[in-house]
């Protein structure tokens, strides 16, 4: 029985770091944030419990418009990333020859860890009024004067797709790679055309990877800060910017905490809906990658 005690002790020792991590760095901070968001400032240094911060949010169209705008643009970015990324992932996993495949996958993996800041910086250098593309177009005679490509929604969307698309492609390549080629061949063999094989065989098989990629991409986009601000300018109306504004500029932590909670609740809701609609669970998508 002594052995059993040792086993139990080992389990406890292994459980301790996990529990401390989740409790102190995830659970308690989020509870603290929710509690803080429920404090109303009634006078300087005097607070009381209430939903004032949330009421403020609901009463001010700028706030919830920003949240909705952030959410819908994040959805758009997710959809675009999937549409653009899926053929790339399929090419890497199934079409490319053995050597090209490894090389292309490496090309996807290496820039994965380049900072958002540098990516956005690169886009700025390309797209701004004095940037490479504008200069090039003037030099080639296509346009007469410099053009500003920055600070509009299209640029923000392109920049965001660019920032997150590798997080879509990499899990998709892994999923498609695990798919037996003979399944696709059997699909053709049984008389399917390219489209039905894609719809009936490839997409259902890759569904966990697709959903996993979509969740990660959506959360990264909705929570991104640098790309919308640097490419969209100060008026890009991104919700994380509002949170930053409340916290750092206005030093209104109560309201900032409420915004943070709203962003979390909103994005969780979207993901929950997405999982319900696709019939997947968190356990067999993100937890697997």
């Amino acid at each position: 029985m002594q052995q059993k005690d040792i086993k139990r002790l080992t389990m406890l020792l292994l459980f301790a770091p996990f529990a401390l991590w989740i409790l102190l760095l995830i659970l308690l901070p989020h509870i603290g944030m929710v509690i803080l968001s429920l404090r109303e400032k009634v006078a300087p240094r005097v607070y009381e419990f209430g939903f004032g911060n949330y009421i403020d949010f609901a009463m001010e169209p700028i706030y919830w418009n920003t949240l909705l705008r952030t959410g819908s643009m994040a959805l758009l970015v997710t959809a675009l990333a999937l549409l653009i990324g899926f053929p790339i992932a399929y090419y890497i996993a199934k079409v490319a020859g053995f050597r090209t495949r490894g090389a292309l996958f490496l090309l996807c993996l290496i820039p994965l860890w380049v900072s958002d800041l540098i990516r956005a910086f690169g886009w700025i250098l390309l797209l701004r009024e004095t940037g490479v593309i504008s200069t090039f177009l003037q030099w080639s005679g296509a346009i007469d004067g410099p053009i500003e490509f920055l600070y509009n929604d299209a640029t923000v969307v392109v920049g965001l797709v660019y920032t997150v698309i590798l997080f879509m492609i990499v899990p998709l390549v892994s999923t498609l790679d695990g798919m037996d080629n003979s399944m696709i061949e059997a699909g053709y063999n049984l008389g399917g055309n390219g489209f039905t094989v894609l719809r009936r065989i490839i997409v259902p098989y890759a569904m966990p990877g697709i959903v996993s990629g979509c969740i990660v991409v959506f959360m990264l986009t909705a929570g991104s800060y640098l790309t919308p601000i640097l490419l969209g300018g100060k008026n890009s109306s991104w919700f994380t910017e509002q949170i930053y504004d409340q916290f750092i500029t206005r030093f209104n932590w109560e309201s900032g905490a409420a915004f943070g909670f709203l962003l979390l609740a909103f994005t969780s809701l979207v993901i929950w809906l997405g999982l319900k609609l696709s019939g997947q669970t968190l356990a067999n998508t993100v937890a697997k990658s």
Binding site: M11, L14, F15, P17, F18, W21, L25, I26, P29, G32, M33, L36, P87, Y91, K94, V95, L104, L106, L109, I110, P111, L112, W113, V114, S115, D116, L117, I118, F121, G122, W123, I124, L125, L126, T130, G131, V132, T135, F136, Y162, N181, I215, L220, G223, Y225, L226, T240, I243, Y244, F247, I248, A257, G260, L263, L264, L282, A283, V286, A287, S289
Partner: protein
Amino acid sequence: MLLQSNPSPFLWGYRIYVAAFFIFLAAPLVAAGAFAFNDSLFPALPWQGFTLDWFFNDTEPKLGMFHDRRLLRGMYYSFVIACFVASLSVLVGTTNAFLFVRGDFPGKNALYIVMVIPLVIPGVILGISILVLASDTANYFENSFDLELEFLRPGIFLVVLGQFSFITTITSLVITARLKKFDDSMEEAALNLGASRARVLRTITLPFLRPAMIASGIVAFLVSFENFNTTLFLVGSEAPLTITMYDRMAKVGSTPVLNAVSFFLMVGSGLLALVSIFIQRDKSVR
């Protein structure tokens, strides 16, 4: 291979699309890196000639990155933070892997999902929630016991905690995947040959996990180094590199020294990423 039955114009179109995508992928990175070598005060065309001044020159106005005190200090802080985060998260990732692969306790599957969740929480929210809790705790101690807990105020300690909170998920997933591939009979064989439990762990199990630990450590280091969102809210006076660069961009405007830093970071992280990929690939063949 699988598109042989399709007409080849389609395949050519497909290839052009893939090529275009990789150009799209590379363009901003090339732009960010290339202007580091342009002998001009602005990171813009026209090309004024090749120079290494933005790395090594020691006088204004072309102060190179290796002589720019603030950038160097930022890099130093980033390095220190990344080292702490990487070693801590690999440590906890390893215990988590053992917990979830070897352990058997009620609610294991639910807790496994809980372990994954920090990865999908927006970094901004992780940042503010940890800031709120730390400040509340610090304020409480200050008001009740007149105790100033400096480490709970924004600074390196909080940045490390903030990044650790979600990077641990990454290391846990990588190390768990490796431990799942472990053949338990190898431990039994070592025990059978007379090794103690501690010796088995030291000579058999940990060496088996080592590639995953190193690779996930490198990834943790890179993610920590490039993190901005979580760090932004927790940073004190010791600004890491990404924050310093952002300040520089917002206040001074872009100068080619930022391109030099970008180039340096891209090459560094690219090489580290390569190393981590090869460490994992080499061993998984066996």
